[in-house]
């Protein structure tokens, strides 16, 4: 799928206005250097979905240090719990948070649909890569589904480019069905391919899969040759390769389906305070995006920041057409995984 086609699909789905499409098709502005940003001052309340170990905290510490006049209050919790809180507060006519930063777009979607966050200004969204500019939230960084494969057993060409063809490939595949990222991937498949096809896919896959507790376990199994390939987020393989450059594992990507779903952490504005948007500009600054890419292997979605070492630019990948906000509800997926005996 070309970028132009992708944008047209987003516009057709109502996610982008025609003006936004035109703007998005224009070359994005380069990420801002933090030195170019005005200092943040005044009170600011952040609802922070926990994730990435202490790296988000490190970012907050750095922003605090640079902006001593900022009075930052943070409420922490899981992204889904905080999303529910924001929706409940909005329902009660209360607005405590200025910014919500969540680790998954599903939680963002819940707030976008139920709590009317304030629009993201074009001066901010224009910094994002085409396809990642949304009216009422901004992605901060991404992670993508991949197929890690054992390079001593397979060539990249032997890995199917369609996730739906994987059961018939004859490959022995490792997966981690209890993992949240895997379940989000199956949710995406349900939304893209339908319940019946997903059910059939799960049943077919069961015949030639090996289950692991986590997706790092999947990648290690691939590198040991226990399985030919696996289903996992991209960063496990990249980290393993950094520590063990000779590990016989590499990444393959499917095309235009759930197998290469790019999910994103994101943020949105719950107040009109100028410091709230300025805070988002810090998160999208060249330095913070570079840190996320370098240290967390997250995919930067602003222009001018290198992706993690070992990962192609997402602009060159054929990403599925999917409104990420629809990934919020995992319950039908869990039902399906149980019904098919995968969980």
């Amino acid at each position: 799928m070309t970028r132009r086609k992708y944008l047209q699909i987003l516009a057709a789905a109502g996610l982008l206005s025609p003006a936004a499409v035109l703007r998005a098709m224009a070359n994005p502005l380069s990420a801002e250097a933090v030195d170019a940003l005005p200092k943040i001052s005044g009170p600011l309340t952040l609802y922070l979905g926990r994730g990435e170990g202490g790296l988000y905290e490190r970012i907050l510490d750095a922003i605090r240090e640079r902006n001593p006049q900022m009075d930052l209050k943070i409420r922490r919790g899981t992204s889904s719990a905080l999303a529910n809180t924001i929706v409940a507060e909005a329902g009660a006519g209360v607005n405590r948070a200025d910014v919500f930063w969540a680790i998954d777009s599903g939680s963002i979607g819940r707030v976008v649909n139920s709590a009317s966050p304030f629009p993201i200004s074009s001066s901010l969204s224009d910094r994002l890569k085409p396809g990642f500019r949304f009216a009422r939230w901004t992605p901060i960084s991404g992670r993508i589904r991949t197929i890690p494969y054992n390079t001593e057993r397979l060539t990249k060409e032997q890995v199917p480019t369609s996730i739906m063809e994987l059961p018939e490939s004859g490959l022995k595949v490792g997966w981690a069905p209890a993992y949240g990222a895997f379940q989000t991937f199956v949710t995406a498949m349900r939304l893209l391919e339908g319940e019946a096809s997903t059910r059939a896919w799960l049943r077919a896959m069961r015949k030639n899969t090996q289950s692991y507790a986590g997706e790092f376990g999947v990648v290690m199994a691939v590198s040991r040759g226990e399985v030919d390939a696996g289903l996992a987020n991209h960063y496990y393989t990249l980290r393993l390769k950094k520590g063990r450059p000779d590990a016989p594992v590499d990444l393959a990507f499917t095309q235009g389906d759930a197998g290469c779903l790019l999910n994103a952490s994101g943020a949105l504005l719950l107040s009109k305070r100028p410091q709230a948007e300025l805070f988002l500009r810090h998160l999208l600054s060249r330095e913070v995006q570079g840190f996320l890419s370098r240290e967390a292997y997250e995919i930067p979605l602003v222009e001018g920041v290198e992706p993690p070492v070992g990962l192609p630019d997402v602009g060159g990948l054929d990403l599925p057409k999917l409104d990420l906000e629809r990934l919020a509800d995992p319950r039908p997926t869990l039902d399906l995984l149980r019904e098919t005996g995968v969980l």
């Binding site: 933090v34 922070l48 926990r50 202490g54 490190r58 510490d61 640079r66 507790a213 290690m220 393993l240």
Partner: protein, 422 residues
């Protein structure tokens, strides 16, 4: 101790003292000694003590009258007379006398024994106990009165006596965790008791900032809320406990929760005012890292009953320490016969804490990560499911701790190599 008092009395050349005078002197000296020994003069005296010296005579007369009243009750009990009205009068008199206020303000340490003595007498009467028990309870009550007078006398005679940092003077309670290095528990749970001696069982807690805290409080005393009620009022960072405690004393109609904008803004949360045997549970969130004081707001109790809750941010918490602590909780749950809770806790720890650490560890020691993933997902959970002997579970836990120690070292290395963001 008796010999010690006798020697003091001899030193004072006090001979042939009648029982009353002996009692008064012993009480006075004992009370004074407690104060002199307990309170280090660290800061200026409070306004309350101004003019104390001039009131001692009045206080002594009040204590004499109260002691006589106690004697009358014990005698009436021996004579088999009804006592209900007498107790009500004694309590009313005790609450009305000037020395009561002075003890609350200056000698709070000696305040509980008075109530305990009165209620021991009352209980003896209600249970129709032996007359000797009533006599003992009466002596205990009078002794408490005189000790309190002694305390006031000691303060009045020492111009530089300190305002009582009672909580500090008597705070020998065990601290949750290990002081500044304490680990914030995975579960933000505070369990606290208060008793008739006006003491909390613990005075320092560590919790995670920005996440809900559950506080369970029980008054484990026997006295009713009207005379020895306890609560827990959590205050915002930087709120002066003394200022709040004094304001609270003026709000008995509101269960000692002071009103007004400034006081209301100082309160994070509070329990109900509880009498002996009562419990309450509250939830609140300490949004920002820092030290949040807490106190009992019943009149003057804050002088003995206060502490602090340290809310720590995510970046202050060592995640490996947190994992070890959660595993300990899991083992405890298993020992208590709840393997399902133990298993759930291990898996939650894996998902919410260990997963966030994996990144740096994978680069440095992927085999270690693989082994720890097995530990979390198969090792311990399997043992819980099988109902394995505690010794086996303990061995598995220790093996995990050993691997976690390595993980901690590797994470420190990773941290030292990290470049600044800006």
């Amino acid at each position: 101790m008796k010999q010690f008092y006798n020697s003091l009395l001899r030193g004072c050349r006090l001979k042939k003292l009648d029982r009353f005078v002996t009692f008064m002197l012993v009480g006075t000296l004992y009370g004074g000694l407690i104060f002199v020994a307990s309170y280090t003069p660290l800061s200026a005296q409070t306004e309350i003590s101004v003019g104390l010296d001039g009131q001692l005579e009045k206080f002594a007369a009040e204590v004499t009258a109260l002691s006589d009243e106690v004697d009358a009750i014990t005698q009436a009990y021996v004579d088999g007379k009804p006592l209900d009205a007498s107790f009500k009068e004694l309590i009313a008199h005790w609450e009305a006398v000037h020395i009561h206020e002075a003890i609350e303000a200056e000698a709070i340490y000696l305040y509980p024994p008075i109530w305990q003595g009165i209620f021991a007498m009352k209980k003896t009467a209600e249970k129709k106990g032996a007359t000797t028990d009533m006599a003992l309870a009466g002596e205990r009550t009078k002794s408490a009165f005189w000790q309190a007078l002694g305390g006031l006398r000691a303060i009045a005679h020492n111009e530089h006596a300190a305002p009582m940092d009672m909580a500090a003077a008597h705070d020998t309670d065990e601290v949750d965790g290990s002081g500044a290095q304490a680990i914030a528990p995975a579960v933000n749970l505070i369990e606290l008791t208060g008793d008739d001696n006006m003491r909390y069982n613990k005075t320092h807690f560590v919790v995670r900032a920005g996440e809900p805290v559950t506080l369970r409080f029980k008054n484990i005393g026997e006295l009713p809320a009207e005379v020895m009620g306890h609560n827990v009022v959590v205050l915002n960072r930087g709120t002066p406990v003394e200022r709040f405690g004094i304001a609270a004393a003026k709000a008995p109609e509101n269960d000692y929760i002071p009103t007004g904008a400034e006081n209301a803004a100082s309160i994070v949360a509070h329990t109900e005012l509880l009498g002996g045997g009562e419990m309450d549970e509250i939830s609140f969130t300490l949004e920002e890292p820092g030290d949040y004081p807490f106190l009992c707001s019943f009149t003057a109790h804050f002088r003995l009953m206060q502490g602090s809750i340290r809310a720590v941010s995510e970046s202050e918490i060592d995640p490996v320490d947190m994992i070890e602590e959660q595993l300990r909780f899991a083992l405890e749950a298993y020992r208590k016969g709840d393997p399902a809770a133990a298993e759930a806790l291990v898996l939650k720890t894996y998902n919410t804490v260990f997963e966030g650490l994996e990144g740096d560890l994978i680069e440095r020691d992927p085999e270690l990560v693989t082994q720890l993933e097995l530990d979390f997902n198969a090792g311990l959970p399997s043992l819980f499911q099988e109902g394995a002997p505690e010794s086996e579970v303990q061995m598995q836990y220790e093996a995990m701790c050993s691997r976690l120690k390595t993980a901690k070292r590797l994470l420190k290395e990773a941290e030292s190599e990290r470049k600044p963001i800006f």
